[in-house]
Symmetry: C2
Subunit: 199 residues, 2 copies
DNA sequence: ACTATATCGAACCGATCGGTACTATCAAGG
DNA sequence: CCTTGATAGTACCGATCGGTTCGATATAGT
């Protein structure tokens, strides 16, 4: 029965539903660990629908990774701004957010890192590069507001802590990784703020 | 022509040659990016030979990842001990070694991390976990010899910097990642040594 | 010399993959 | 009402995959 008789025909909604399901499935089983057929079955759609919306599996992967990057970036940014105006508080809030994320059931590391490692070129790599550029912007911004001498450099170091903690939390596994990283980040910030640029 | 007429029949050598070739190929193209057929072609051997030595593709992958872990662990350990007895010098040497590695042509991130992300379970995960345990031993040992209060915790933080720098160096890409990580590591060590445990 | 072993080359297997084609059916909009 | 478009369902395609088997042939050890 093509088009179930009581269904609402809304292409945009269908696309979003496929995207949501694929985001979870590709994160859990890996980009090459789920076939297009399985994705369609789990989404309750036909192959033709998926291919009309995304063109190819690579197209779907690209959309999934891009959407994930956007969502994560928004989420971390909000966690920082919600912590008030003090740069140290904002930095702590970022790592606290990481901590709760790492403890979530089904946590399998950073989806962007995982995707970029699995599809090292293609459409994923540039998305991953932009993703970490934006993450660097967030962290370097905090460092700049703290008045450190070289906010870009401290931002890169903090980014390494964020990524390292997330990867390690997945692979060792180490549920306290984000807590360790938080202390290290605050120590680096305090250390850099001791020899400030202007203030 | 089975068994070329002028060849030396040495199973151990054959096995080692397959392992070497597979190490490079699987690192470059990913664990699922090279078929068994291709591996055999590039190694100049037949399928039967590969399957007699390793049983399955998973068996080959396991041997490759394990060998890589051993080699890398030895390499980093030697870099540290070759730097003398001062803990700060040893720590700096570790990140200097990382720096030259990241600059090598064909660098694609940490092979162990990549493998564990691609085959999230199976035989790879426990090898990766042990790998980072050993890496932690090295870093925590340096921290302990520096007389910090909690060498295990500092070791975990240093490990995050090592992993984060390596992943970022691959994905952004950032050739100076290891240099940034080195400075952060030394700062954390100095900071922790300011409030020592016994000395 | 004889036997066991290692190897190649090729054919072969069933399964699965990404992607396409086609038909039937229903909702949505002019 | 009637056309247009979205969709399910299914069958199908060629390619590739991991893995097995077999026969021919050469080396290695006894």
């Amino acid at each position: 029965m093509p088009v179930p008789k009581g269904s609402t025909l809304d292409p945009a909604r269908t696309r979003a539903a496929i995207l949501d399901m694929a985001t979870d499935a590709l994160y859990e089983h890996g980009l090459d660990g789920v076939s297009v057929g399985r994705l369609c079955t789990e989404a309750g759609i036909s192959k033709e629908t998926l291919y009309r919306h995304f063109g190819s599996k690579d197209g779907l992967v690209q959309a999934v990774v891009q959407a994930r990057s956007d969502r994560v970036t928004r989420w971390l940014s909000r966690a920082a701004t919600a912590a008030g105006e003090d740069p140290a508080d904002q930095l702590a809030a970022v790592f606290d957010a990481l901590s709760t994320w790492h403890a979530e059931p089904g946590f399998r590391g950073c989806a962007i890192v995982n995707a970029a490692v699995q599809h090292h070129a293609d459409p994923v790599r540039p998305i991953a590069a932009r993703h970490f550029d934006r993450r660097l912007d967030l962290l370097a911004g905090i460092a700049a507001r703290a008045g450190v001498a070289d906010p870009e450099r401290l931002g890169r170091q903090l980014l390494q802590l964020v990524v390292g903690a997330t990867v390690i939390a997945d692979l060792r596994p180490d549920p306290g990784a984000a807590r360790d990283a938080r202390e290290a980040a605050l120590a680096l910030l305090a250390n850099a703020a001791q020899s400030p640029s202007t203030r």
